[in-house]
Each structure stands twice: as structure tokens, then as C-alpha cells.
Amino acid sequence: MDYTERMARLTARKIAQTREKQERLGARDEDDYGLVLPPASFKVELPVRDATGQWSGPRAWAANFRWLMENHPCYIDPDDAIAGRWMFMLSRMRLGYQLSRSNFAFDYSSLEPLQKKYDITTGIGKDAHFAPDYKIGLELGWGGLVEKVRATRLRFRGRAAARPAGDDADETAYAIELMDAEESAILGVMAWTRRLAAAADDRAMTEDDPVRRENLVETAKTCYKIVEARPETFREAVQWIAIFNMASRTYNRDGAGGQLDELLRPYYERDKAAGILTDEDAEFYVFCLLLNDPHYYQIGGPSADGRDQTSRMSYIILDAAAKLKSSCNLTIRVWDGMDRALFRRGVEILLENRLGYPRFSGDKALVEGFMRNGYSAELARSRIAVGCNWMSLPGLEYTLNDVVKINIAKVFEVAFAESDSLESLEAAYRRHFKAAVEVTAKGIDFHLAHQYLNEPELMLNLLSHGPVEKGRDVSHGGAQYYNMAIDGAGLAVVADSFGAIEERVVREGAVSFAQLKSAVASDFGGEDGERVRRIMAASGRYGAGGTAADRWAGKLTEILVAEIAGRTTPDGFKLIPGWFTWADTIRFGKSVGATPNGRRAGEPISHGANPLPGFRKDGALTAMAAAIASVQPGYGNTAPWQLEVDVGLANDSTAVEKIMALIDGHFKLGGTLVNINVVDAEKILAAHKDPSKFPDLVVRVTGFTAYFNSLSPAFRELVVKRLVREEGFSR
């Protein structure tokens, strides 16, 4: 039995598990996350809940998390080099949880009227969405981490004893409670790791197949070793990362990864030199790590001092991902000094597998952009793509990436209602956008002032530089840097609306402003409304190149940047702008009435920085690449290009070169992140009709990949609409 057979069996089981999840949980418009279902008999009995089903504060979170860890079912697969799968998400177990609105123990109703007016996703109470530095954990192990926590607690206990009524008594008391909680969380993870080891041992006793038995024995040995000690071998390091990931997922869905090639390289080189690891072993272990959970890992790119980080490890990770054939969020960092062969191999895999990975980040624009916030080149080069759209400095930065959004289609709607000309509309938009940013910034301050009491980051604190040392939660002074993300959503809808008004109302006079307002108010009802809709919808679109809408997209970006970049919240936290909608296009669309670009009330808004489908008759990928590059805010956060390429182009003998050229061109123009689906349009259409026939079809929905059959019909429809069809020969 070789690794190929084991990989095939593991992938098949993953597909079966995905099917079970869909059957039991229904459609989930989210990342696959790697979780599996618990046994049906398993009952969650969290020890701390108040009468309303809520809990908050370090002590309560730690108690509940520890209960979950100490009771978490132990998943063991004899083919898998890694023990465990995660099954629960504690942060979603508070009663009344909604993805769009977090439970929050503190009242911010004074902000809510304006937040609702502009349909702002506030980020208040949102967790994770910044990156850990795995090196901290790999160097200390759980035993080292718990010692570090205890040392801090001792220090704060000393302070409490010395100054029981000092000005900092509350802070000191919190630090002690936080360290108690951290200790409890770690002990919970250690207990689960120990139980996983025992479960692997037990399973080995009854396993007949010698290869599997040996694997189970090795798994048990690995887990026993890393219960306390720091990992020393490659396999131990991989298992340690997986344990942290699963525990952190169980705590609050954290899915940030890291620079995986550099994290694993020292273990790889050491084990290879010692003759205890082959490349095939390493590839299989990484395969198991990627299968375990689709965290956002990077490979390649520049080191802090500007050298290319590509190593043999980068290729092993890429090859493991190629064999995975499942949901995966691996990013290749593309930059001037890179090993082009890594880039090429990434594109080849993208075209061969057609599973939406790897994706590609544009480090030149990202590094230069982040430096505009006043940071050094060394720091900027260390900032990596660790989520759907997000950038973060591992272990150093708190960001609320991808969870703070202003629906600019809603801002536009408010402005449009009180305008009677293009000039007054622009002025009103600017005014309302400014107000929207102000209330968003106040919401961020509110979050930063209270989140540590609501939901401390017990897991991510451990792998951050500061929280344990300072006795402060990462959301409340524990991190070294606070660069709070605010993303605009709905760019194309608003740019096309402004452009259509300029073209049809102002320039051509085909429709009067009053007629347009009346038609929009009636959702383009009646014959006249439909006539107006057609006229407006046929105007030049954002993305076509040289249209009024293109100019407006540029102007909207200038407005976004002017109000956010270089600014701070009232409490002094830096803000960074981006364009990104995540999977919220449908929800955002529902809150917005008809818009002057011909969009009807309630229809989804546009996706990220992408033009709307049909932006050009030829669907030109170069036009899309240039348009999206032109609206980059340019401060180190992304405005990703979500690209669907039809399989026809992928079949071209020069497809690899052409896709590389597209990505290169986009990045040279200032692009930051490219998420690509290579799709067989016919297959997608057939799967849209009957997803159960295509259980292994994986697509990149936005920043994340997911099994197509796990998406709701409305989300599948969005993927279908984005398809870019191959253009035939001109002659």
C-alpha cells in the first residue's frame, strides 16, 4: 500500500463526509472548513450559559472551551498521518447567533440607526480574522505556552498583592483572569491531544493491516510527544499545527494560516539530513494537513530582507495540494524576484485540476501599499494573505479583516433619494459615505473597547507577540499593531449607476432625472419603467474600458481612499481600505432597492472589485484585469480579482503562458490578489441543475473554495453568472 492509495481513500472519505454534512446541515454558503459531523449520540453540555443562552468573558469562554476539548470526540483515520478532526464551533453556540451579526454583551444601540441606514457590517463582536505566528507555538509547544502563561499570571498576582487598590487594579485582575483562562484553554487542548494519542493507540490494537497499524502507532507516539513537548520532527510539527488549527476552529472558526513553506522548512531539512524523512513522506504529511483543514497558507514570496523564500518545501506543499483534489486555500506569492517555476507549476495545477487553487497574491503592490501606512519594507514583506481577502502580519497585527463592510449601494440609495441632478447626487454620496465611515469607525472603537470582555481570543492570543506578555487580549492592547480594515462593497453597481446617469441623463438626455427617480422608485414597474430600465442598463459598464462608469469606479475608489486611508478611528486606530464583498452579495442586495444601472430591487450587488457580468460583449479578461487593477485602494489591503475562466481557454496549448501573462499584467498594473476558477461551463450548468451528480466538484466561491453541492441555489447561481465563455476564432 503506497501513499497514492491512501490519498485516494482519504479524498473519497472527505467527499463522503461533505455529503453527510450537506444532508444533515443543508446548504452552507461558506468555506468547507474541514469540519466533520460528531457522532449523532454526542451531546454538547456546555457548563456556562446564562438564562438567555449567552456567556461572555475569559472565564466563561475558557470553561466552555475546555469542556468541549475534554469531551471532543476523537476522530482517527488509519490512513491519515494526522489525528483528529474538528466538529464544533463554540462561537456559534450562543443562542441567537447569526453570521451577519455577532452576539455582543454590550449595548451599542446608539450607533445602530446609522449602521442600519448604510447597511454596515460593523465587525462588532467579530472574532479571529487576523493571523497567528505559528513559530511561537512550534518553538514552545503546549508545555512551554502554559509555562509562559503561568509566568505572566505570577507577575500580575505579584502586582495585585503589591498594589491591591492601585489605578491598574481592574487591568491586573483582568490579566489574571485572562491567564487563568489561557491556562485552562491550553490544558483542554493538551487533554484532547492526549486522548487522540490514546485513541490512535487503541485503534492500532485492532488494525490488521500492517501499514495502517504502523501509521497508527506512529500517530499515537507523535501525539503523546506533543501533548507537552515542543515538536521536533517534521511529522510532529505538522500534527502540532493541525492540533492548533482544530482547537482554534473549535474556539471561534479562526482560519488564518501562515507562510507554510518557511514554517516547515527547518523540520524538513533536519529530518532529511538525519535520514528519517523522504520527500514522499513530507508530501503525504502536508497532504494530510491540507485535507485536515483548508487554512489559508502561503508559499514563496519575499522574506523580510527581500530574498526569495521559495525552497524545496514550497514545491512539496504545492505538489501535495495538487494531489489533494479537495477544498484548498493555498496562495502563491507572485513578485519580481520570485522563482518563476513555482508560479508556472501553480498555474499548471490550476489548469489541470480545475479546483480553484492555488490562488495568487501580488506582493509588489501589497508591500508598497502597506508601506504607505508608515511601515518599513521589512514589515510589509512579512504581511501575507491569510484569508479570503485579508492581509495580516502573523502574530503582530489585529485587523478585523473581512468583517467590516460598508454597502456602498445602500449609501448610494440614500444619496439618490435626496438628489435631483448628477452633481447633487455626487455631493450627497460623498456626504453620506463620509458619515458611513464615521459610524463604522465608531463601531470599531466600540469593538476594541469591549470585545476583550465579550469574547477574548484565547487561542490566537497564544500565538501572538504581546497578549500573554502584557496580560492583555489581542483585541485590547495585546497586539503590536492595529490596522483596522474597512471594505467597500457594491462597487460595480454604484459605478454603473453613476455612469448610466452621466451617459443617459446628462449627456444624451434620453431620460430625465425625475423620470429616472420615478422608475427606480417603482422598481422599473410598468411599460415606461421597463423602457427606462433598458435604456439605463444598456449604458457603458465599469470594466469595459474608457466608459463613464469606469471613470466613476475610479472616483469611488478615490472617495473610499480619501475617507479611510491614512485616517484613524476617534480612538486613534489606523484604518485601511479595501474592496471586497465576501459571500455577502446576496444579503447586501436584499437591503437595496432598484438602482439606476437597471438592477431591480433586492437583486444581489456586485462582487468585490469585479465588474458586473456582461460588462463587455467579449467578456475580455484583459479588460477585467485592467479595470480591477485600476480600482485598487493601494494601502496594503486587497481588492481581489475573482476570475472564472472557461475550460476552453484552459485547453489551449499555450494556456499556462496566457494565464501567467494575465496575472503578471494584472499585478504590474497594481493588482493585489487573484482568485481563479477554471470551470467547465457545461459541467457547472449541469451541476447547478443537479448538484448531487457532482459530489467532487469544488469551486472558488470568493476568497474560499467550497464543494459546489454544499452551496445554496442562490449562491450556485452567482457562480454560474460569473462564467466567462471562451471566444472562438475571429474568422
Binding site: T622, A623, K658, A661, L662, D664, E726, G728
Partner: protein, 247 residues
Amino acid sequence: MRGVVFDIRRGVAKDGPGLRTSVFLKGCPLRCVWCHNPESQSPQIERAATTGEICGREMSVADVMEEVLRDRIFYESSSGGVTLTGGEPMMQADFTFALASSARSEGVHVALDTSGFAPWPAFEKMMSVVNLFLYDLKCMDAARHRELTGADNCTILDNLLRLDAAGAKTWLRFPLAPGLNDSPEDIAALRNFVAGLRNVEKTEICPYHPLGLEKYVKFGRKVLYDNPEYASAKDVARWEAALRGFA
């Protein structure tokens, strides 16, 4: 100088090397029975009979170049460029020459996609500004060529021989339609002719597709080859084998 253009497509992955912008010039002297761009045939701007859609617009060289240069960075990253196509771009030879000259002066690679049916002096002039000729060969038999396209192939073959002798770089393209120009004899004749050329860099088959059929109705043209089926993969494989000399 102004010309009549009926479409500009960006990001075209075919029609020459790399990523390209294809500029479609209106007007063609041939009437190929399988033509899938019937709206390109008349040199005049026209309105679709059924939808009222206008086909063609007058553009200056600067207008076209503004659009072409939008993708300059992708030409550089992919070794692509602009392809002047149609219709038959040589029907607007002066405008085509001006476009090609302008593109070359901007450092943009120029491909000319042509049927070859134009006076030699126009081609001779074009050689100084065109990097690559995408040259159609449809049928070697003069009489049948006339039946299928409305003109015989003497001028076409003569121009190709002259271009080749002058060292012009060429990609030959064979539009093949089942039952029309794809007999073993037809393909053997093409193969034999091509064997005598020295500067052909690449040959490619353009298999028949029916996507243009509905445009005949739209633009009030009579359908001359009413075949709703795509050329099959089997046909294409047979043609490719025959061109390599294995059939």
C-alpha cells in the same frame, strides 16, 4: 483617417500569439458559404433587420488605438499584440496600413488576418508594418474555390508565394467545413502546397462552427451552407492526420 470597424475584442487568446486585441474591419470581397460573420461582408454600416442593432461604426486611427493600447501591459507580458481582422482588412487597405503603422510605432506586435484576396501592391506595402500574417487557405482547386467563396484562388496563392519569397512570417489557417473542402484530395493538395513554402511558422485548422447561422437571418442574408452541426472531433482529428500526411 477613418475606417469602418464592426467590433473590437480584447483579451483574445487566439488569432495570433499571446493575448491580443482583435480589430474587426468591415467589408469582405469574398462570400464564403460557411462565413460565420455575415455582418462583416458589406463595407457599409448597416442595421440588423430583426433587432435594429447597428453593425459597424466609423472610427479614426486614434479611436482604435486608444482601445488597443489599453492592453499594452498584457501584450508585453504575453508576447501578444493587435490582430487586424474582419471581414477582410485589406478591403480597407489604407486604414489597415495606418492602424498597423500606428501600432508598430507604439511597439505593439501586429498580426494581419487575411483571406489573401487583395492586390499584391497592398500586401507588399503591408509587409513593412505587419509582424505576422494569419493567412487563410480554403481550397486549392480554383473552380471549387470560386464555388465556395465567389472568387478563384489565383490571386490568393500568388500573394502567399510572394509573401513567402519575401520572407514574411506566416501562420496558415485552414477553414474546413465537412463535405465542402475536406476531402482527402483537398487536404493533400493543401499539404503539398504548404510543403513548398519556407516561412510558414505554424499551421492551424479552423473547424466549421454554426454560430453565425442566426446572424444571416438577423442581417437579412441568404444562408448558403445550412449546417447546424459543429465539425466533429473525429473530423478534426482526421483533418489533422491528413495534414501531417498520415491519411
